[in-house]
Symmetry: C2
Subunit: 302 residues, 2 copies
């Protein structure tokens, strides 16, 4: 099969990444991170989340960050909105896209958001309706699409069910997320194929974690079924709350390196991206969680 | 294409790995590492190197290690022999296989072993002849098969040339090694295909470094061209001398996790392998360079 010639990466570092970092980051730093990512060529950035600051204090500055970013034509700025209250706060900040999420695992849904998968869908229904009525794009994230920390392996049929429910709600795009990074190439392909039963190839993206080092192999396996959109996180921002000492989101730098090496365009300048990753890593007081960045930075210094 | 159903891994940790670690490891520890690897199910282990202790003091205990290992039927014990003098010392220790090596890069050959590629081949000729006459298997390693720290990208034609020369010498198997880890899936496939012009699919293996995090994606890409033999290094032993702060050999644990997750057998028990990796990492006073090991060890402790 011919692989996609172009790949779109959505950098989820400012939201998914920083939300899972222990250290708080000032709004000004987040705003500069978004600026650096768009300067590096990213065309979609998950900026922040409109959730209760009681649960996610790291994102309490959501409106401030959205107000502070310098929007660039052609770049899409998305925000996470877990419920109608969050959506109403979010919409005032003019996002281009909102993100809703549901788990493919009942146990994870219960433990993470304290309701069943079906209940989580009902909670999203008014959010999706309001967004679509306002002309705002809606993306759905299917978490634990390959494995769950409580249930273990997740059958592709679970992913298909959530994809079908999302389709029925009017969600326009789904991301298949291996939240705990346990997936391997064939399992990831089966999860993607399950989503593809209800969405077309331009409406499904992959979201992989590098906890077990599998993210790039899974990305390659996804390209082989035609997937050309992926969530990645600059500097690998975001640890993995379910596996201590392990890395979480795959680093944007590592994915870009692989794609460019394969002759697949991304529109991203790897050098500027690495600088963005170094900038936020400096703010966090650690090295980037990116093998490419660490290898190339060592070369720059040698 | 149907992927291979079974993969053979050659653990190069005791030789290629420990040779590139700064700390010296006592012979007794190396012997126990070999024991633990064969107990975990490895069927080929690169044990040591017969090179001048002036250049590689870490392997000065080569004869002691070879004498100390408890050989297990069905396991192949290989040693590196860069020249006839090394071979003559090695043969007394009864290796099942010897390994000779040449670079696909002229500059690397000159800087690493101080001679041209053609000269390195001439140096191996008597070694290969002696080994074959003695009924000892001969494997050839083609280093810098994708990129070189001095020359940059390496054309597949360079790999093909070295493979042809090795074939002419009588070398029975070649390993295509991305010594500095810069390779990405398509480039690696082209390098393997170059070697496959002179060797059949059962005579070519892949040897990847995780310096840029590409090793598992490259392994998957290799499976897709039918390659079913790989060199890996328990606990990711062996740093990368050409990229400070970077990881080197891909961890056997990470490869096994991916393969088993894909339903491909290896004969290896991942738990026992992780214990072997933890054992040698403890001896080196650091954590394993394996994402799988770090994630699963954290789970064991939680």
């Amino acid at each position: 099969m011919q692989l996609p010639q172009h790949v779109k990466l959505v950098d989820v570092g400012p939201r998914d990444g920083l939300q899972n970092e222990k250290q708080a980051v000032p709004a000004a730093v987040k705003i500069e991170l978004v600026q650096r990512l768009q300067d590096a060529g990213l065309t979609e950035i998950e900026v922040t989340s409109f959730v209760s600051p009681k649960w996610v204090p790291q994102m309490a500055d959501n409106a401030e960050v959205m107000a502070g970013i310098q929007r660039k034509p052609g770049v899409r700025y998305s925000v996470l909105t877990p419920n109608l209250q969050g959506y109403e706060a979010a919409v005032k900040t003019r996002p281009d896209e909102i993100v809703v999420f549901a788990a493919a695992s009942e146990a994870f849904s219960q433990k993470n958001i304290n309701c069943s998968i079906a209940q989580s869908m009902e909670r999203f229904r008014p959010v999706v309706q309001a967004a679509l009525a306002a002309g705002i794009a809606v993306r759905g994230a299917i978490s634990c699409a390959v494995g769950c920390p409580y249930e273990g392996e997740i059958a592709p049929e679970r992913v298909e069910l959530v994809a079908r429910l999302m389709r029925e709600l009017g969600v326009q795009h789904v991301g298949v997320a291996d939240t705990i990074g346990v997936g391997t190439p064939r399992k990831v392909q089966r999860a993607l194929e399950a989503a593809l039963k209800h969405y077309d190839i331009n409406q499904v993206s992959g979201h992989f974690h590098d906890t077990y080092g599998q993210a790039l192999a899974n990305t390659l396996a996804s390209l082989e079924v035609g997937i050309w959109q992926f969530d990645t996180s600059v500097a690998g921002l975001g640890g993995c709350p379910y596996a201590k000492g392990a890395t979480g989101n795959v680093a944007t730098e590592d994915v870009v390196y692989m794609l460019h090496g394969m002759g697949i365009s991304t529109g991203i300048d790897l050098d500027r991206l690495m600088d963005a990753g170094q900038f936020i890593s400096d703010a966090l007081g650690r090295k980037p969680h990116s093998r490419v960045s660490n290898a190339l930075m060592a070369k720059r210094l040698s």
